[in-house]
Each structure stands twice: as C-alpha cells, then as structure tokens.
C-alpha cells in the first residue's frame, strides 16, 4: 500500500483525504455506500466523540459519523 494511503481510523482531526478502497460487504458495505462513502469521494475528519469513538466526517456537504470498527474498512489517500 502507498505510504499516503491510510485507514480512516488513523485520520486526524481536520485532515482531508480521498477514499480509495472500501473492503466491507453485506449490510455494513451497503450502509456505508448508501451514505455516500464510495471510492473517489473527498472527506475531511471533523473530530471524534469525547471517548475517541465514533468519528465525525464531512463529505458532499454533510456530516456523517461512524464507529472506528466501521472506519477500519475504509482506506483514505491523504
């Protein structure tokens, strides 16, 4: 994997990136795609909940939150 591609979990607050791959299938995969998380989309990390999980993302003009375990399936190029 390229050096600048990392798991969404490790994205820091304020950091921007482009989704490269999503390796989730089934219900999780579908939920993620339904909410607009597909390869090629630009996202920005808006912060994390007080207990460091879930994470809040900005994409397509809205804010989305997901848990770290879901974020693990998404790889981002920063």
């Amino acid at each position: 994997m390229d050096a600048d591609v990392l798991s969404l979990r490790s994205l820091k607050k304020g950091q921007k990136g482009i989704i490269r791959t999503i390796d989730a299938d089934g219900e999780l995969g579908r939920r993620i795609r339904d909410m607009g998380l597909v390869p090629g989309i630009q996202i920005q990390c808006m912060g994390r909940a007080p207990l460091k999980d879930p994470v809040a993302l900005r994409l397509m003009g809205f804010t989305l939150t997901l848990r770290n375990r879901e974020a693990d399936h998404i790889n981002v190029q920063v």
């Binding site: 579908r30 920005q44 007080p50 879930p54 879901e70």
Partner: protein, 725 residues
C-alpha cells in the same frame, strides 16, 4: 394491477425536510397508524390543491431502497404494491449528491417523480447554485424548487405530481444506466428469463428484479425463491459466477459496483452545469455555524456536561411539571369516583364502576401529561439535531452493553434518575433506528427506578436504613442501571444476538424546530398511546379489580361483621362507649373486614398459596398480595400492603404501615432488602407491558418481560435474603 392513481407518495432522506413538507401539505388532517406486524409509522393525510383533495402517503425517511431496515422495506412495498400515482421526492439541495442516490433508485423502480429541491435558501447561503432547468433536462424529471419551512413551492410540486400521475398512470419506463460491462452483460442474460416467467414483474421492472439478485437483496430473492424456486436458483447461480469473477478481477462485489456507477451517474450530471460552488467541502454557512456549535457541544469536557444538563432538565420538567396536570387528573378521577359512588347503591356494581372502571381509566389517562411533555422534548431534540449528538457522545459507553448511543434517552426517562416512568421510556425508543439495540433497550428500561416504585423504597429505607437514607436511595438507582445494562448485555449475547447494527449516522446541521412540526408529532404519538393502551388496559384493570374483590368471604364472616357492628353501635347508644371510642372501634372493625375480603379474594388466595415459593425470599402472604397488585400498577403495592395489615387505605407518608412492619417479627433487614430488590426488578406494570407489546409488535416480548423479570427478581431477592438472614 393498476388501481387508483390519486395517491401521491412523498419520499426522501431523513433530514431532507420531507416531514416538514408533509405537515405543511396536510396540517392536522393526518392519519397515523402502524404497518401490520412492524413498528414503522404509516402516515397518510389529505392535501387541498386547486379545490381538489389529494391523498398523500408519507414514506418513512430512507437513504436508499435496499431491504436492510424496516423503513426501507416499507417504503419499497408502498411504492410497488400500493401504487401511488406519482412520487414527490424531497431532496436537501445542500446535499444534493447524496440525496439523488435515493432518486436514482426510485427511477430504476420506474416511478414517476417530481424532484422537490428543498432548502434552496440554505443551499444558496452555502454558496451552492443549482441550475434547475439543466437538472430537469439531464434527468428527465420535473424539478421544482422548494422551501418547505416557509411553504414556498409546495403547491407547484403537488400540482406537478398530480399532472404527472394523470400523464403516466403511475409508471414510467425505468431508468437504465450502465453498471459496467460485466454487470450489464449479466443483467442482459437475466432479464429475458425473468420476463418470460413473469417473476415479480407484476410489481417491479424485470431489470430491477435482476439487479436485486446481484445486490443479494434477501427480501426479493426469498420471495422469488418461493414463487419460482427453479428460476431463482438459476439467477442465483449467475449471480455467484459474476461475483467470483468480480472478486478475482477487481476484488469487488456486484452491489459495490452498482453503487459506484449510480454515484458516477449522479456526479456526471451534477458536473454537467447543474451544480456550482459545492467543490470546497468546508466552505458553508449553516454548516459553519453547526461546526462552531459542535466544537462546544461535542467537546471532550463540555459535551458530556451539557448533555447531562439537558437530559436532567428534560427529565426534571417531564416528571415534575408533568406531575401537576397528573394531580389534576387523578383529583378529577377521585372526585368522579366519589360522585358516581354516592349515586350508586353499595355492592359489586358500585365497586366495579368506581374501583375498576374509573380507577383503571384514570390510571391510563394519568400518564398522558407525562407522555405529552416527554414527546414534546423529544420532538424538539430530534428536530433541532441535538438527538444525533447525544447518540454520538454516548455511543462508546452503550455499545459495550450491546446498545446504541441513543439508548440513553429512554433509560433516563424510565427512571435513570430516580422517579421516571417506563411507559414514556419505552415509547422514547422510537428514536433508535437499529432494531436489535432498540429491542434490548425496550426490554431493559423497566429495571429503572420509576416513580411508582419509589414509595416502596422510601417506606423500607425509612424502616431499615434510617441513618443512610439518601445513600441507599442512590444505591437503588445505581442498582437499576446495573441490572438494566447487564441484562442488556446478556440479551445481546443470547436472545437478541448478532453483530451491532452499523452505526453510520448523519449529524444534521442544527435547526430551529418548527412549531407545527413539534405540535403535530407530540399530539399524534400521544393520541396513539391513549387509543391503543386505553382499551386493553381498561379490560385488564377490571380483571385485576375482580381478582382482588371476588369471591367475597363466606356469609358467616359477613354476618359476624354485621353483628359486631351492631354491637358497637348499641353500646354507643347505651352510653357504654363515647362517640370517639365507637368510631375508633368501627374503623378497626371495617379495616379487619377489608383484610378478610382481600385475604379471601383470588389474589389473596394466590398470595397465600405462594408463600411456600416466596418464603426463601422472606415474603409472607401480605407481601405476595401487594406484589401481585403491583403488576397492575406499582402504586398499588403500598396501599395493598396497608389493606393486608388491616390499616384501611393509606399512603406512603402514613406512619402506621411503617410501625406495623417494624413491630412485625416476620420482618427483618433481610426481608426489607429482598423486597426492595424484588420491587426494583420484577415484572413491569401492565401499562408498560402493553406499551412493550405495542412498540415491539410482538406478544412474545410482553410475556418475556413478564416472566423473565419475575424469575430474575426472584432469584436475586432469594440470594439477597439468604445472604443477609
């Protein structure tokens, strides 16, 4: 197949303003029901347009039309089977790209669509410009700008939809976009087979059915397998071949590719002169305000502090302010019972009307103010966008117990801070969109210290823990939390097992809730409670009343009572007793008569018979009867205990019951603790049980709550008693 096309459906994402539009169209002319067997609300209403009436169906808010959530299944069924003439697809113009994902799927389904571009004002202030004509040209859809909150564009959209319904008869040629060579080829093979066998084509376009096979959509594949197992197997085989091919060549799944191509289609249209100014994802006005607010409201320290303050205030107002109209209502019903009772002769009929019917209906209606206030708050918190933040902040904690961040609300309302009520608590779980987490929440909120259990705790704490009252009361509340969370954890790894529902949730920008939206929400939910709970609970209160009244004691007992009464009256008449002494003796006599009645009733006999089972927990027949009565309503526990000690009717401030218990050699610290444990954990009251049935749409969970909680409470109170004895 094609019936009447006068219905117009309203579809859209959550937070797209769809409900605001529906409320604007129909005002109070709404009918809310549930779809049979599931808990998704079904809303219909009548709108007036140019002098005609149009029936509107409000579809549940969904991001997609897959079959993973109940909302999506319902939306799809209404579209295909109830067959509306046209669909008004309400989209949030500021988040057009994602909102169009649902529109594409509606088009694939062959629905005639009017695209209502809502929140055009917000989009403009964000710097997003949408060329409506260009969008209409490229998609072939009628596009109408709308600002639902201000009522702008509503009539235009509805007029367009009605015309569209007339023109199209409720169906148009489904949108067929390319999903890449591999999938397109596979679809081309599948479609003729589906058409030939007419597999589900009565409801859906053939290509759509084929796509659902590729997307592994179980609702459709299961139905297909039942109708035509042979063909379904064939289509399944083709899907598998394609899937393994895509896995080998591109490490992807057909459903992922289909989604990619849908977004690709949307993006190509938006970039083709439709949308300008949305490139920079962080330069936005309202969102910028929300971001600033979130910096404080979801802050590591301030976030939880504000959250608990808001929850506490909400709880406080619900319970404290709700108690005022609650008192008026119970005062009114006491008065009504007294007045009606005075008009009727003594006897079972009077008792039925006053103690059974009026007390029962009063009990149900007594909850109405609480429920209204609670729903009012929830509507405000939801519509303002804060509820999503609550779930976001609390999720990490609740997830550990197999619940969801949004579970905190029902827990607090049910008595997470002592003194709530599980009835509105169970109903508050409607805000949870994850079915397993929601069910686990519903089944565990009754363990909280609701307001009706508190008098029992106060009584026992006063007797057995005179010096540590606040501490022990606090420990009871904590014990409620511990029991609820641990049972939730247990349920989620046994009966409601399964991986957590993915937590992929939108944080909508903060908005002022609209007055009409909040009022309509509150009223329709309250009315639903009154209607549904009212009828059944009335019947059950009569049943409980009968169990505690019949059969009457044998005639000798009654005769003896009359003889004794006459004797006292005579001694008063002859001057052997003063008036005061006579009154005292009469009261004593009447109380002992009441005790006899209770002891002789079904409930009394059951309580006595159960002594053998309950003695390991230290409960005698008096406690047993009180606890049986408590299943009707927890408030009854104390008053029944009073009757069983032949004290007449009493309340928790009455010292006589505490004295009776203190002086009763049967009672010890162990008995007191065991009874507190049992009261905290045992079966929810009947109103709660009915609401559990209503909210889960299954009798199974009502009986589970009744019997599991009884067993759970029994085991723990036996342990407590045996350890402390």
């Amino acid at each position: 197949m094609q019936k009447d096309f006068s219905n117009i459906a309203i579809a859209g994402n959550p937070n797209s303003g769809k409900t605001t539009a529906f409320n604007r169209y129909t005002g109070a002319r709404q009918h809310v029901g549930n779809y049979p067997g599931i808990t998704v609300e079904k809303k219909e209403g009548i709108a007036h347009l140019d002098g005609i009436e149009v029936t509107l169906v409000d579809l549940p808010g969904t991001y997609s039309l897959t079959a993973y959530s109940m909302e999506e299944v319902v939306a799809r069924r209404v579209l295909s089977e109830e067959h509306p003439g046209a669909v008004i697809d309400v989209v949030n113009s500021g988040v057009l790209e994602r909102n169009l994902y649902l529109s594409v799927q509606l088009m694939e389904l062959g629905m005639p669509i009017v695209l209502a571009l809502n929140m055009m004002d917000e989009a403009k202030s964000k710097g997003v410009h949408i060329n409506t004509e260009r969008l209409a040209e490229l998609t072939g859809l009628k596009c109408v700008p709308m600002i639902a909150r201000k009522g702008e564009g509503l009539d235009d959209a509805l007029r367009a939809a009605v015309e569209l319904a007339k023109e199209t008869g409720g169906r148009v040629a489904p949108l067929e976009i390319s999903y890449g060579t591999d999938i397109d080829l596979c679809l081309k093979e599948m479609v003729p087979l589906i058409e030939e066998a007419q597999l589900l084509t009565k409801y859906y376009p053939a290509r759509w059915v084929a796509m659902k096979f590729l997307e592994r959509d179980e609702e459709i594949t299961d139905r297909a397998a039942k109708l035509n197992p042979e063909l379904a197997a064939k289509l399944q085989a083709k899907t598998e071949t394609l899937t393994s091919h895509l896995q080998k060549t591109a490490k992807t799944y057909p459903e992922a590719l289909i989604a990619d191509y849908r977004y690709g289609w949307i993006s190509s249209i938006l970039k083709n002169g439709v949308m300008k100014g949305a490139d920079d994802i962080s330069h936005e006005d309202r969102v910028a305000f929300s971001d600033k607010a979130d910096r404080i409201l979801t802050d590591v320290v301030m976030g939880p502090v504000i959250l608990f303050t808001v929850l506490y205030l909400m709880y406080y107002v619900t319970i404290e302010v709700g108690a005022i109209p609650n008192e008026w209502l119970s005062g009114f019903f006491d008065w009504l019972g007294g007045t009606v009772g005075d008009l009727m002769g003594d006897g079972p009929l009077k008792s039925l009307v006053t103690d059974g019917v009026i007390a029962g209906v009063g009990g149900v209606l007594g909850f109405v103010p609480l429920i209204m206030i609670m729903f009012l708050f929830i509507a405000v918190l939801e519509d303002s966008g804060y509820m999503a933040r609550v779930a976001y902040i609390m999720d990490r904690v609740f997830r550990f117990f197999g619940l969801h961040g949004a579970s905190i609300m029902p827990f607090i309302i049910s008595g997470g801070i002592a003194g709530g009520c599980a009835v509105p608590g169970v109903m508050a779980t409607r805000t949870l969109r994850s079915p397993k987490e929601r069910l686990a929440t519903i089944l565990t909120v009754p363990f909280m210290t609701c307001g009706a259990k508190i008098p029992v705790f106060l009584l026992l704490v006063n007797i057995f823990f005179e010096h540590n009252r606040p501490l022990i009361m606090f420990c009871i509340t904590l014990a409620g939390w511990a029991a609820a969370l641990l049972v939730a954890r247990l349920l989620r790894s046994t009966l409601i097992r399964g991986v957590p529902t993915p937590f992929v949730m939108e944080l909508p920008p903060y908005r002022y809730p609209t007055f009409s939206g909040v009022v309509i929400h509150t009223w329709e939910r309250t009315w639903q409670y009154i209607k549904k709970a009212g009828t059944v609970i009335l019947a059950i209160s009569i049943l409980i009343w009968a169990a505690m009244t019949f059969p009457s004691p044998p005639a000798e007992v009654e005769e003896q009572f009359e003889v004794n009464k006459a004797a006292i009256e005579e001694r008063q008449a002859t001057g052997a007793l003063t008036e005061e002494e006579a009154e005292e003796q009469l009261t004593e006599l009447e109380n002992s008569d009441l005790q006899q009645h209770l002891l002789n009733s079904f409930a009394g006999r059951l309580g006595t018979a159960m002594e053998t089972i309950t003695s390991p927990a230290g409960f005698d027949w008096r406690t047993n009867i009180a606890l049986i009565g408590g299943i009707a309503a927890k408030e009854v526990v104390i008053s029944t205990l009073g009757t069983a000690y032949s004290l007449g009717s009493i309340d928790e401030e009455d010292v006589s019951l505490a004295d009776s218990i203190r002086n009763d050699p049967h009672w010890s610290l162990a008995t007191g603790v065991a009874l507190m444990v049992f009261t905290l954990l045992y079966s929810p009251c009947f109103v709660t049980l009915m609401v559990i049935k209503q909210e889960t749409a299954k009798w199974r969970w009502l009986f589970f709550s009744l019997f599991f909680n009884l067993a759970f409470a029994y085991v723990l109170s036996v342990i407590a008693f045996q350890l402390l004895k």
